[in-house]
Each structure stands twice: as structure tokens, then as C-alpha cells.
């Protein structure tokens, strides 16, 4: 049956290049595509756990399309940010996420929107999966009034509901995330907090302090180490005495996950969420992933790793390609449909970039606003004693 479908789809694909192809494609959408398929996913190494996540994941066509679109949007958005940075329209720090899309998308697929998430500075992808629009993310990067933080924060300080940034100090976000989890438990909301950090941050003392308290108080926390093999320019072997980041929680159970496979990440996240919400306390996940860009836009990314290595990951483990191949080979989608999505995504990014470059910067009158919350207007000392500025809450 599947073979017949493949033959039919090949024939129809041939005719799709003629006019009226779009009509033909959509007419066959529901009838001929596989609505869902089961995929084998890599086994996860576990630490202090009896068993790990399941070895098979079910993907529906809708889910596949959504994951594809989201990952592609993040990819294109980051590449556009690269362009804008090189044109000096984005300034300062810009840490790009391309290559790691499966992590953000897989995690979001494994939790609820009402759960909480916090990460470090490589945050554009998460800002998007947590509800930010490409427009407001890009406008924040370019420092305009339409930015998600009104242009006041920049690349590393973006926030949405139940998303606490965007944090510039390495490791600081981990105790903050445990604090959010404490609030979840305190308020009895049956929500959890995902606390992300990188392989570089994993050696921070405050993270171990957090492991201790989260475990003692059974906080509903999923600690996730996004191990992209390099902390800035220092490879994991040169920074950590133990690179088994999933074991470093010691008394906290852990699992090591293929972070380039969105389904693997999703299943592991679901597994971890289940652990947390059943009151067992925190759990640790290490996602093995890779960033194509350097640490930030000021790092070409080749002084501490080879171009061959980057190229190999791109050709063998790209998360978007992995998903695409799976869906195509199981006839869950057509090449045209994916191309359509690509075109739509490209347009969305272009529109957002257009907005981000033309929207005006925040007005000088608003320089001193947002110092305090819920406060009557107050005076702020300006650059010289004669300049009196005003701050509104």
C-alpha cells in the first residue's frame, strides 16, 4: 500500500511543476499522506533511574509540520540576525542558536505553555517557542520601540509569559529557575520549571548549590544542560573534569539525550516532566547538540574547532533535515508542501526584518522609565546637575 502511494505521489509530483500544481497538491493533502508514524529514537543513557524514556515516538502529520515550521523559523530568524549584525544594524552581543533548534522545539513539545522556562543568553529560539513573535524579537535585537522589551534589553533580555529570559550572567539563571519552581510548588499549581544552562555554565558553583536545595525541597525542576560541546572557545574536555553532565547532579537522576532529534528531545522532556509532576523532585537532562555559529557574532567559531567538524554535523545531524527526511520517507508530507512552508517562513522573517529596521528607536523621554514597578513618577538624576529626568513606572 505504501509503495503504491509512493508511486502515485511520484507521478503527481512530476505534474506539480505545471500550472495548477497547487490545486493538485492540496487536493491530495488528506487522502494520500500518512497521518502519523512511529519512529525509533535513540536510547538515552540514564543515571540513578530504573528506566529511560520510550525508544519509539509517534509523530502525527500536524505535529511534524508544526515542528518543521517552528525549527525553520528559528533557523531563518537566526540567519537573518547574522546578516543584520554584519550590517551593524544589530549591535553588542548576539548569540545565535542555529543548529540547536531541536532542543527548543522538542522541549516545548514536551511541556505545557502554562509551565515555566528560563535559559541563558542564547535565548532567541526559546523566546519564540514561548510565545514571542519574530517581529518583536528582531525589533528587540535592533533596539526599537516595537521590541519585546521595548528596546531596553537587547539580545539577552527578552521575556514573555512564563519565560524568564534571557539572562546575561552565566549560571545565574539556574537558581532563578529553581526559585520559579519553588513558587510553582508553593502556590500548588502543578506546574514545573525548565532551567536551561550550557556545558560552560555546568561547572558553576551556584548550580551545585541549586541541585542541593532543589533536591532537598523536592522542587519541580527539570535542569537541562544544552551541551553544544563548547563553552565559548573552550571544548568540554578542556573545561570539565567530568563531561558526563547528566551525572553531575549526583543525587539527582539524569539522562543523556540526542539533542539533534526533536522527537528524542520531546520524549525525554515528557518523561522528565512526568517525574517532576509526580512529586519526585528535580531531574537532569543533558542534550547533546551543536551550534553552527561561533559563541557569538564576534567569534568566527573556527579557532577552536575545524570547519570539517561543523560541516560534518551539518550534513549528518542537522535537526531540520532529520525531521524532513523522516517525514518524506514516510510520506507524511510532500517536498512542495515543505517548500511552501519555507517560502512562508522566509516571508515572515523578511517582514519582521523590515519592521525591525524601520521601526523607530524608543524615545529619549522614556529613558528613565521602568526603574520601579507600581511607583508614582519620580525624578532621576541626569548626566549633569542641571538635567532633571523623569521616571514613570
Amino acid at each position: 500500500m505504501r509503495k503504491m502511494l509512493t508511486i502515485i505521489s511520484n507521478v503527481l509530483r512530476g505534474s506539480a511543476s505545471r500550472n495548477g500544481a497547487r490545486l493538485v497538491v492540496s487536493a491530495r493533502t488528506y487522502a494520500d499522506f500518512t497521518p502519523q508514524a512511529s519512529f525509533d529514537i535513540k536510547n538515552c543513557d540514564v543515571h540513578k533511574l530504573e528506566e529511560g524514556p520510550p525508544l519509539q515516538a509517534v509523530l502525527t502529520r500536524e505535529e511534524g509540520l508544526q515542528y518543521y515550521r517552528t525549527m525553520q523559523t528559528i533557523r531563518r530568524m537566526e540567519l537573518k540576525a547574522d546578516q543584520l549584525y554584519k550590517q551593524k544594524i544589530i549591535r553588542g552581543f548576539c548569540h545565535l542558536y542555529d543548529g540547536q533548534e531541536a532542543c527548543a522545539v522538542g522541549i516545548e513539545a514536551g511541556i505545557k505553555r502554562s509551565d515555566h522556562l528560563i535559559t541563558a543568553y542564547r535565548a532567541h529560539g526559546y523566546t519564540y517557542t514561548r510565545g514571542g513573535t519574530v517581529r518583536e524579537i528582531m525589533a528587540e535585537l535592533t533596539g526599537r520601540r516595537g521590541g519585546i522589551a521595548k528596546g531596553k534589553g537587547g539580545s539577552m533580555h527578552m521575556y514573555t509569559k512564563h519565560f524568564y529570559g534571557g539572562n546575561g550572567i552565566v549560571g545565574a539563571q539556574v537558581p532563578l529557575g529553581a526559585g520559579v519552581a519553588l513558587a510553582c510548588k508553593y502556590l500548588g499549581k502543578n506546574e514545573l520549571c525548565v532551567c536551561l544552562y550550557g556545558d560552560g555554565a555546568a561547572n558553576q558553583g551556584q548550580i551545585f548549590e541549586t541541585y542541593n536545595m532543589a533536591s532537598l525541597w523536592k522542587l519541580p525542576c527539570i535542569f537541562i544542560c544544552e551541551n553544544n560541546q563548547y563553552g565559548m572557545g573552550t571544548s568540554v574536555e578542556r573545561a570539565a573534569a567530568s563531561t558526563d553532565y547528566y551525572k553531575r547532579g549526583d543525587f539527582i537522576p539524569g539522562l543523556r539525550v540526542d539533542g539533534m532529534d526533536v522527537l528524542c528531545v520531546r520524549e525525554a522532556t515528557k518523561f522528565a516532566a512526568e517525574h517532576c509532576k509526580s512529586g519526585k523532585g528535580p531531574i537532569l537532562m543533558e542534550l547533546l547538540t551543536y551550534r553552527y555559529h561561533g559563541h557569538s557574532m564576534s567569534d568566527p567559531g573556527v579557532s577552536y574547532r575545524t570547519r570539517e567538524e561543523i560541516q560534518e554535523v551539518r550534513s549528518k545531524s542537522d535537526p531540520i533535515t532529520l525531521l524532513k527526511d523522516r517525514m518524506l520517507s514516510n510520506n507524511m508530507v510532500s517536498v512542495e508542501e515543505l517548500k511552501e512552508i519555507d517560502v512562508e517562513v522566509r516571508k515572515e522573517i523578511e517582514d519582521a526584518a523590515q519592521f525591525a529596521t524601520t521601526d523607530p528607536e524608543p524615545p529619549l523621554e522614556e529613558l528613565c522609565n521602568h526603574i520601579f514597578y507600581n511607583e508614582p513618577p519620580m525624578k532621576v538624576r541626569g548626566i549633569s546637575p542641571w538635567i532633571k529626568l523623569k521616571s514613570v513606572s
Partner: protein
């Protein structure tokens, strides 16, 4: 009244403030309360009033507080609201700030503000700056409290004053109470404030009793943050101070009064935002200004006040240069005689006043 006073002064055996409140109806209008008990009353009342308020810090629960400030609170409110932490300042400060971001109202206790140096990244980068950086999306309602500055015999690592350090940072409010009323009213305001507040207590003041007015015994008694108080009116010189040093200023003022010199003593109450208006109004009257603090001189609270006087309307009223009386610019020594000579004594304040007035 004397009976009451003797109970209250007996420290460990004192009737807990919690119980005492039940007797309010039969007590006289004004009551003697130590600063310690005033702080505890404030915490108790705010814990009762708002479910989201909770305390965390080292030894705050079972030990009843390293300085017994939180005695009785754990027994009343339990594990959920009074949390003993491990000795991990940066970790538990981060957790408290995160909880505040998610909508709770934590009160973090530092056994000494000297230990807050470990957590200063979270106080400043995670708490103070966040509302601004997020363009108004993420407020942080949190109080950091604990003893600050000098304490007898604790030596260099445990005696630093952090008023100037925290007072430097936009996005923080910094409060430094002196009396029991200050402590109670300001702590209640700090807890109800939706912004990060650093609340600098002082160990020397914990056991000092003050008369608390009837008004201050109400559960809604608040002192506004950002307003100084004139503790003593005078016409000849303005003394501006905060925390335990206000006591020294009051004592010095009493000594000077015998020589016919009337000091106006201003208790700052809040370091940031500072009530410059009160200082300027006073300086316009007395025409002489001396700031008095326990902290180090360089880049201190006094330095800020003097700079603002220079830049503001007060300058043209001065009949003599405004000066600062501060702690000596050294790490705090241990030996009693050395320690005493490191902080402003009554004689130092008297001397400075006479020099300023040229008498």
C-alpha cells in the same frame, strides 16, 4: 510599666511579641519595644496579611534566628513559610529572586550583610536591573534584610557597612532604620513594596528598646520609604546620619546643648532614594552640615550627600564647608580600644561640630 520594661529587657526570657500583642487592649498607649521585636512584629504581621510572603535564610526557622529576630515565627507559620537554607548564599538568593519573579514575595535574611557579597550578582543583576531590562515586563518584589555594619568584636570580615555599595545601584531601594518604629514601619513598607529592597539592620540596635507610639502598634502602620525624619530640632548645625550612629548623634547633641549649641539631627531612614529635600531644608536653616556614618569615607553615603549639596540650592546657604564624619579608612580591627577608635564616637562628633562652627 517598670515591670513590663524589666520583662522586655530580659532578652531571652522576654514574652514573645506575638503573645504580647494579645494584651494590647489592656496596655498603656505607648510601649517599649526593642528593635529586634519590632522587626519580628513587622515580619509576623506581613506574613499573616499576605500568603505570598515567606522568609528564607540560614537558621531562621528552628534556631529561631541567629540573632533571635525570627523567634516564634516558624512555630506559628511552619516549614512552607519559614525556610531554613543550607549555607549557600548565592544559591538561595537566586532561588528567592526566581520565586519573586514568579509572583511570590520572599524576605531573604543574611546572617550578616557581609555574606551578601556572595549573592551580590543576584541582588543587582537578577533583581535590581530586571524591571528596566525587560521594558517593564518583569517586576521583582523581594526584600533582602539582615545586620549591616559594625558589631562589637566581630573584626574585619564581619563589620563592613554596605549602605554605599547598595545605595549606588538604580533599581534598588535601600533602607537603613534606626529606632524600633523605623524598623517596624519601614520593614512593612519594604515587604509591601513591589520592588527589590535592601533592608540594612544593625546588630548593636537589636536589643535597644524604644518607645512605640500607639499608632505604630497598628497592623497597618507604615513608614514611607524615601523620607527622612528629624529626630531632634536645632538651629546651629545639621547632623545627617543613619542606623546605629544616629544614637551617637543624639548623645553628642545632648552634650553640645550644654554649651548652647543646638544640633538638628536628621535620621535618613532611607539611603536610596535619599530625602535630599529634608537635608536641604535643614541646611538652609542651620547653614552648617556634617554627615555622620559608620561606613568608610571613600565613595560613602556622606560623600554623596555633600556632592548633592554642592550641586543644589543648599550650597549657597552654607557658612562653612560641609564635612563628613566617618569610620576610619581601614578594615575593622579586633582589639576593643582599636575598634572603638575606628568608629565615630560622641567626642568626635562634638569636635567636628565645634570645628565647623569655629567655636
Amino acid at each position: 510599666m517598670a515591670y513590663l520594661r524589666s520583662i522586655l529587657r530580659s532578652g531571652k526570657n522576654a514574652v514573645p511579641a506575638v503573645l504580647r500583642r494579645e494584651f494590647h487592649r489592656t496596655l498603656p498607649a505607648a510601649v517599649q519595644v526593642t528593635v529586634r521585636d519590632a522587626i519580628k512584629e513587622a515580619l509576623d504581621e506581613e506574613l499573616e496579611r499576605d500568603e505570598r510572603v515567606f522568609l528564607l535564610g540560614e537558621e531562621v526557622a528552628l534556631f529561631e534566628g541567629a540573632y533571635k529576630v525570627t523567634r516564634g515565627l516558624w512555630k506559628k507559620y511552619g516549614d512552607k513559610r519559614i525556610i531554613d537554607t543550607p549555607i549557600t548564599e548565592i544559591g538561595f538568593t537566586g532561588i528567592a529572586v526566581g520565586a519573586a519573579m514568579a509572583g511570590l514575595r520572599p524576605v531573604v535574611e543574611y546572617m550578616s550583610f557581609n555574606f551578601s557579597m556572595q549573592s551580590v550578582d543576584h541582588i543587582i543583576n537578577s533583581a535590581a536591573k530586571t524591571y528596566y531590562m525587560s521594558g517593564g515586563l518583569q517586576p521583582v518584589s523581594i526584600v533582602f534584610r539582615g545586620p549591616n555594619g559594625a558589631a562589637p568584636g566581630v573584626a574585619a570580615q564581619h563589620a563592613q557597612c554596605f549602605a554605599a555599595w547598595y545605595g549606588h545601584v538604580p533599581g534598588l531601594k535601600v533602607v537603613s532604620p534606626w529606632s524600633a518604629e523605623d524598623a517596624k514601619g519601614l520593614l512593612k513598607s519594604a515587604i509591601r513594596d513591589d520592588n527589590p529592597v535592601v533592608f540594612l539592620e544593625n546588630e548593636i540596635m537589636y536589643s535597644v528598646p524604644f518607645e512605640m507610639s500607639e499608632e505604630s502598634q497598628s497592623k497597618d502602620f507604615l513608614i514611607p520609604i524615601g523620607k527622612a525624619k528629624i529626630e531632634r530640632k536645632g538651629n546651629h548645625v545639621t547632623l545627617v546620619s543613619h542606623s546605629h550612629v544616629v544614637s551617637r548623634c543624639m548623645d553628642a547633641a545632648a552634650v553640645l546643648a550644654k554649651d548652647g549649641i543646638e544640633c538638628e539631627v536628621i535620621n535618613l531612614r532611607t539611603i536610596r532614594p535619599m530625602d535630599m529635600e529634608a537635608i536641604e531644608t535643614s541646611v538652609m536653616k542651620t547653614k552648617h552640615l556634617i554627615t555622620v556614618e559608620g561606613g568608610w569615607p571613600q565613595f560613602g553615603v556622606g560623600g554623596e550627600i555633600l556632592a548633592r549639596i554642592m550641586e543644589g540650592p543648599g550650597f549657597s546657604y552654607l557658612n562653612a564647608p560641609a564635612v563628613r564624619v566617618t569610620g576610619v579608612d581601614i578594615p575593622m580591627p579586633y582589639a576593643k580600644h582599636l575598634e572603638e577608635n575606628t568608629l565615630p564616637q560622641i567626642k568626635d562628633i562634638v569636635f567636628s561640630v565645634k570645628k565647623t562652627l569655629n567655636v
